[in-house]
């Protein structure tokens, strides 16, 4: 299938718009936790995180968008606050840095999954499609 996302800018805009779409669902019934979110709520068993910008990008409130580094730190904060409730996490990112991931973040995620019997999946959305980046 030919990708409709022709450029990295298309990918980022796609994820930003998709985040807004998900916000309408999570806000109405709180069946999953979402970041970036327009509002906060109680812990859910499901967490969805969208990293729409470059890997190390900060959070931009006007776009409600951030990079993987910021998003994964928010996810870790959620995991610590929702121990025993969070069971599965899905993270979608527009940018990927395997070296930084393996050095800084993979050990934390490995420990969280092993210690608390939870599942974390990370996918990269690129112009060439969706790629599973964790677990592998």
């Amino acid at each position: 299938m030919e990708s409709e996302l022709k450029s990295q800018k298309d990918v980022m805009n796609h994820l930003i718009q998709f985040t807004e779409q998900l916000n309408s669902f999570s806000g109405s019934n709180q069946q999953f936790n979402l970041f970036p979110a327009s509002q906060t709520g109680p812990c859910s068993s499901l967490l969805i995180c969208i990293a729409s910008l470059g890997f190390d990008s900060k959070f931009y409130p006007s776009k409600n968008a951030a990079g993987f580094k910021y998003v994964i730190l928010k996810a870790i904060n959620t995991w610590l606050n929702c121990v025993g409730t969070n069971k599965k996490s899905l993270i979608i990112t527009a940018d990927w840095n395997n070296h930084k991931f393996e050095e800084f973040y993979k050990p934390i995620i490995d420990s969280y999954c092993l210690r608390f019997d939870t599942e974390v999946q990370i996918y990269e959305q690129s112009t060439r499609g969706l790629w599973l980046r964790y677990p592998y």
Binding site: M1, E4, L5, K6, D10, N13, H14, L15, Q17, F18, Q21, L22, F25, N29, Q31, F32, S45, L46, I48, K87, K88, L90, I92, Q121, Y123, Q125, G129, L130, W131, L132, R133, Y136
Partner: protein, 41 residues
């Protein structure tokens, strides 16, 4: 590692939410979530 399992993030998220209806007993209304596919203009 580099295998594409889903054609879109809409499919990916819908599958993630739907699979957990069975696993953890979420309300059936989760199944009704419709994710409209966005395409660049």
């Amino acid at each position: 590692m580099n295998n594409t399992f889903f054609h879109s993030i809409e499919d990916l998220v819908a599958d993630f939410l739907a699979s957990n209806v069975v696993d953890i007993g979420l309300g059936l209304e989760t199944r009704a979530i419709k994710l409209t596919k966005w395409s660049p203009s």
